[in-house]
Amino acid sequence: MSKKIKFSIYRYNPEKDAKPYFQDYEVEVGDHDKKLLNALVKIKDELDDSLSFRRSCREGVCGSDAMNINGRNGLACLTDLADLKQPIVLAPIPGLPVIRDLIVDMTQFFHQYHSIKPYVIDDRPMPERERLQSPEDRKELDGVIECILCACCSTSCPSFWWNPDKFLGPAALLHAYRFIADTRDQATNDRLNDLNDPYRLFRCHTIMNCVDVCPKHLNPTRAISRIKETMLARMA
């Protein structure tokens, strides 16, 4: 049985619109349309093909369809339509420049991610085969490597809103910890030095919005605490 669902969606086309506005839609969805992304695709197919949003894998792996859903960041493909209060208010993830409708410019976000050098650094001669890691050491990376860089966490963090150019944000810090915790990485000291300034790490005031919204149920706040603990251990 099909049913109608009401939406109020943020629209902004910088080539046409002087300022952003919200547009109402009512779309009919079938029994198989369980997720918010299904309804969005239907709106684009049947009602308004000018509506712009990113999506790719439609199963919570690519992280493209992060948006602000009824005031809370999340992935459209993982959000159940049945759980949402109507009209469903959709806006771009906050704090990043809007390119069009629900699409934001993620340059700043990825700039911070790249700045933590997100790769294993080991200048020793390459072994004949791969660099091995024990299962116990590998376990340290559980709950850290699952991050898909959707930016739900960083764009719900006020510290990232106020200082997106200086504060790394929870996503980049989670990845920073991923390489600090990796036993194969030889640059722990440099990584900690790089984070030890008033902004890059220490603008985090532990309000835990990042933990609240992460669609993969990860805990960037814990990773940030672990970085601080590692810094303290190094001082002792």
Partner: protein, 119 residues
């Protein structure tokens, strides 16, 4: 770049973070000690101005109170600096605010010392 960031920043990441936590613990302990003194200590106060005065005449109370005020001043400085760093972008406004906060906190510290040790 790291060098520039460090030279322009007031204080160093993990040190400030650690100082704020240490001063918080000191504040809690000092406050508990003072409460214990009021309740059961040899410096126990009863009521009224003269009782409070004799309470603060006790050297141990003065020392603990002074430690408490110093911890509050350091803690407040780091906290206020954090707020300014978060929200104030203009360099001149930031420096002005830093100076006002330092004046206010130093004034409070000197005044507290004067009250505790000269009265």
């Amino acid at each position: 770049m790291v060098k520039l960031r460090k030279s322009l920043s007031a204080g160093h990441g993990v040190n400030a973070w650690l100082q704020q936590r240490i001063t918080a613990v000191v504040m809690l302990l000092a406050a508990l000690v003072l409460i214990a003194f009021i309740g059961f200590g040899s410096c126990a106060a009863v009521d009224g101005f003269s009782a409070w005065k004799s309470f603060f005449d006790c050297t141990l109370v003065k020392i603990v109170s002074q430690i408490l005020v110093i911890a509050v001043v350091i803690h407040a400085w780091i906290g206020m600096r954090d707020i300014v760093m978060d929200y104030i972008k203009s360099y001149s406004a930031r420096v002005t605010l830093y100076m006002l906060i330092i004046l206010w906190l130093l004034g409070s510290l000197i005044y507290s010392a004067a009250v505790l040790w000269t009265a």
